[in-house]
Subunit: 372 residues, 2 copies
């Protein structure tokens, strides 16, 4: 085990018996949340950092499991003793979002009203709902205020939403590779992914668990589409090239180019490990996220009463949520006189850059937290 790893970690479950009303108007009669923690909560309970996950991740943010040492947390390069989110100083929490498929109540859970799995009846859960559930977890842990809430992509939207929903419970929002709402093109990619799943003959309007099938074909395509949007064209070219040598052309539909092999592998792997019903709902949470919607589209007004300070980071080659989308957030915060640090990293990796161990990027987070 590397000395800067948090080491062996244990997922935990927190059960909530009360009914929760969701933004959609639906209710859940009790639910559970899977989470992990790293480091130690201090006596003042003021050193907690919440890490919010994006589309396809979970509460397993750092470390490994005793019985599965290859299953390294998805942001392990950022979190650990001596790392930017230094677990010698901070108590770091990862929460599987409600509606997820990694231990929190979701579409594959039993619906207490029917005694059968929710399937297609599971409600759509929004960013606002996740933030509220995360606050309930914090309550249970005795955390009145987070030192920071951090996330990339959809995780960043949650970090931003925290500053809106709970302005007095957050000292710092770290908003990475974000957008204040999706563009029409972003929604279009999500919609094609959803259509691939919902038109898969195995989908059965979401009630596929009982039939012992999964809409694997559709989920596989959805994931492949997603992957293209996570990488920059340059990153793909560097990673895979084209291998376009005439003598290697097979003139059939097998793999001819490395990028084809990569996409098929990513699609297969994901389709076996992620729940299509969860994927469908998370893309909707992305589409619906729009804090300015209640303010006639004016983000400045939506962010007028946010709490805490902000670190906003974008990546030049990110074409999913380009730096200009972060500029919108930064401008709205500055217009409101908020304390904002903004960094634009000249990184070639596209949207996925937020997951990479780029030292310029990581040092910005490290210094920001040291000075916060």
């Amino acid at each position: 085990m590397p000395t800067d790893s948090v080491g062996i970690v244990h997922p935990e479950i927190m059960v909530f018996d009360d009914t929760i009303s969701l933004e959609s108007g639906s209710e859940l009669e009790g639910f559970q949340v899977a989470y992990e923690t790293y480091g130690t909560l201090n006596a003042e309970k003021n050193n907690a950092i919440l890490v919010c996950h994006a589309l396809n991740a979970s509460h397993h943010v750092a470390g490994v499991y005793a019985d599965d040492k290859k299953n390294i947390g998805w942001w392990d390069n950022l979190i650990g003793p001596g790392k930017p989110l230094d677990t010698k100083k901070f108590f770091v929490i990862g929460v599987n979002n409600l509606g997820g498929c990694h231990g929190s109540t979701g579409p594959s859970s039993i619906n207490p009203r029917t005694g059968r799995r929710f399937g297609g009846d599971f409600p759509i859960v929004l960013v606002e709902d996740w933030v509220r559930v995360q606050a309930l977890v914090a309550d249970r842990l005795g955390i009145k205020r987070f030192f920071a809430v951090i996330g990339g992509s959809l995780g960043a939207m949650q970090a931003l939403q925290w500053s809106i929903t709970y302005p007095n419970r957050i000292l710092n929002s770290i908003v990475i590779a974000a957008a204040p709402k999706l563009s029409a093109q972003n929604i279009a990619f999500n919609e094609v992914a959803r259509q691939a799943i919902t038109t898969d003959p195995n989908y059965n309007r979401g009630h596929y668990y009982d039939k012992n099938v999964i809409p694997k074909q559709g989920l596989r395509i959805a994931r492949m589409i997603g992957h293209i949007t996570y990488l920059s064209d340059d990153a793909m070219a560097e990673k895979f090239g084209r291998e376009l040598r005439k003598d290697s052309l097979a003139f059939n539909f097998d793999v001819n180019f490395q990028i084809e092999s990569y996409l098929r592998y990513q699609g297969d792997k994901f389709a076996e490990n992620f729940d299509a019903n969860t994927y469908l709902r998370i893309t909707k949470a992305l589409d619906y996220f729009d804090p300015a919607a209640d303010y006639d589209g004016q983000l400045r007004l939506a962010l007028a009463r946010v709490g805490g300070k902000f670190l906003v980071i974008s990546f030049t080659s990110d074409w999913r949520f380009s730096p200009s989308r972060s500029h919108e957030i930064v401008k709205a915060l500055i217009d409101n006189g908020k304390n904002v640090t903004y960094a634009e990293i000249d990184a070639p990796h596209g949207h996925d850059a937020f997951l990479m161990a780029d030292s310029r990027y990581h040092n910005i987070i490290r210094r920001y937290l040291e000075n916060a």
Copy 2:
């Protein structure tokens, strides 16, 4: 009928009995080609312009059919009496590419060796093959040399290939919204489209005609993916907005945003009118196009012996084949001392701009042809 329309047109069929050997090594024992012509071939037979089609179009380039007045040719805004490709001056020819699904021999044709439809056994046909077949059509019409060969996107690749394969049979190549080869990202989008089709349960390795099914689900997704790449993000935003009003959110998987409705409509329409086997093969022709492959990747060497003059046009918002891809072509031509006119149009429509009636764009083609 507008006075600048070519009016009622008639598709024609040309039958070739000889066996043709394709770039892939496969052979076809005879084939037929569907084509249309507009205007009049002059006595010297030196006023012919060949229009090459892209992924989803056909030989029906201009005018309408007597029994289907709504079926307007796909580049009707460019071709007709008084239009940039002026049919009072030019004899314009559209050819359905070999392997197509609009009248030329393709996967749904009868395989003479088996007496059944080719289906999945139809070979992959490359840009070089199409150009050779177009030359056979020209031979039959008595056209020794084209005044111009014009195309956008994959059609532009054919116009460029004409200057390589038949340097003495072409006076002008008009290469619009092109790339000298696909990027890894371009190939990735094609691959996801192919995977959507080939994993559709109805695909049956391409032998679906006999079973009276079509891989409609997959073809629909393929088309939706394509459409996203044809439009710029700005064009989508302007065309559809986001309609992200909280009070219109349905919290289900029906259409919430206009862009969703548009994509579903385009996918449905296409899947009912285009053959998936043809779509699969045309995307492969795109992936494989790479004139520099035989020259160690050096486009300058590949274009050393091209014939004719060149008009190259790109569009600023085209992110499928961005202006920088056209620059590669222009630079390689200039390095060889070729006569090149280059225009970069500041148009918001993305890749689809080549199909739009932008007057700046159309006037460049008009003037170029007047001065050629």
